[in-house]
Symmetry: D2
Subunit: 108 residues, 4 copies
């Protein structure tokens, strides 16, 4: 069982921002920018790699740690954005996957 | 209690990709691009808004639905990227928040 | 000889913004967001393509027109950003290439 | 008169890539990623700034130098992308501005 508890992580991130008086910076606009900047750091890892080099089986330990860190950074800003926006991430993802299942029927 | 079950959503997304024979496209490099492109769509929502207009209390229903959808799109590609990379998202986020707590001590 | 006249294009873009009363939206922060959102649209063109399919010789006329349009969009926001920032693009690029030549000596 | 000579800068960037045997990395797909990653670094400069702090008159010398450098980086990858794609940047920008003038008529 995966131990990821979305509510607990969201609450921890909110407390982190509050304790540093950073909530003033965490407007949806600013958080969208921070999320996109972190997505840019993910791109930077892969931008010069061939399809083969981009394969996780070919990564160095350093590359793996780097990818993990950037994935975490993107998710942290995503959860902050959802929190300040009053958006339930689980509901949003569920609705979007259901919509995609309708838009792109599987072949049969 | 939040019903978001990371493992179940990850498995659903994997099955979705398999059923459409899309796993061939889902290299980490390509998924990082797709994630960043969706982050760009989030930016587009907020780019011309003032700080006040960016406030969730001021959003139209249409803006709210749009933000929800783009948050879902980013998370979907993030979870696919983590899945194909063999990265545990919960562990990665936990490690990063703990590191941030050390780097940015709260004032006292 | 290439007819691109940076000053003339910059002036045309400024006049375009003034005539629509859009200068109020063109803060450096907002223009950086718009530029990054357009960069995201460039990514979207290429995200699922193999290295071979990404080759310009393999593009459809539609893909070519799309790439041209997104390149133009990125450059338009870049020139607006430089203009409102009082940055001379030619000087900035020249300085950066010279720095890169020092940082990455060519093999011999 | 602005001394920016698009053809000369494009040729200089091509020679730079050739001398380092980097042309193999400069597919349109990879260059689009590098461009978007640099756009992300521009975002990072502005992400926590208020509208007032984002004003160029309020920048420190360090911020100004940073913005200049990131603008240069974006433009460098944009020119490389246009070069490998056989796209004339001046024509593309001219066509797009003309189209925008039609789409967004100025008030009268």
């Amino acid at each position: 069982m995966n131990t990821f508890d979305l509510d607990a992580v969201t609450a921890r991130l909110r407390a982190f921002a509050q304790a540093r008086d950073w909530e003033q910076y965490h407007s949806p606009k600013n958080l969208a920018m921070a999320l996109a900047a972190e997505a840019g750091e993910l791109l930077e890892i892969f931008q010069w790699l061939t399809a083969e080099q981009s394969d996780p089986g070919a990564w160095s330990a350093e590359t793996r740690a780097h990818v993990e860190e950037e994935i975490a950074d993107v998710l942290i800003y995503l959860l902050r954005l959802a929190d300040v926006s009053g958006i339930d991430v689980g509901t949003a993802v569920d609705a979007k996957i259901t919509r995609n299942e309708g838009r792109f029927p599987a072949g049969g």
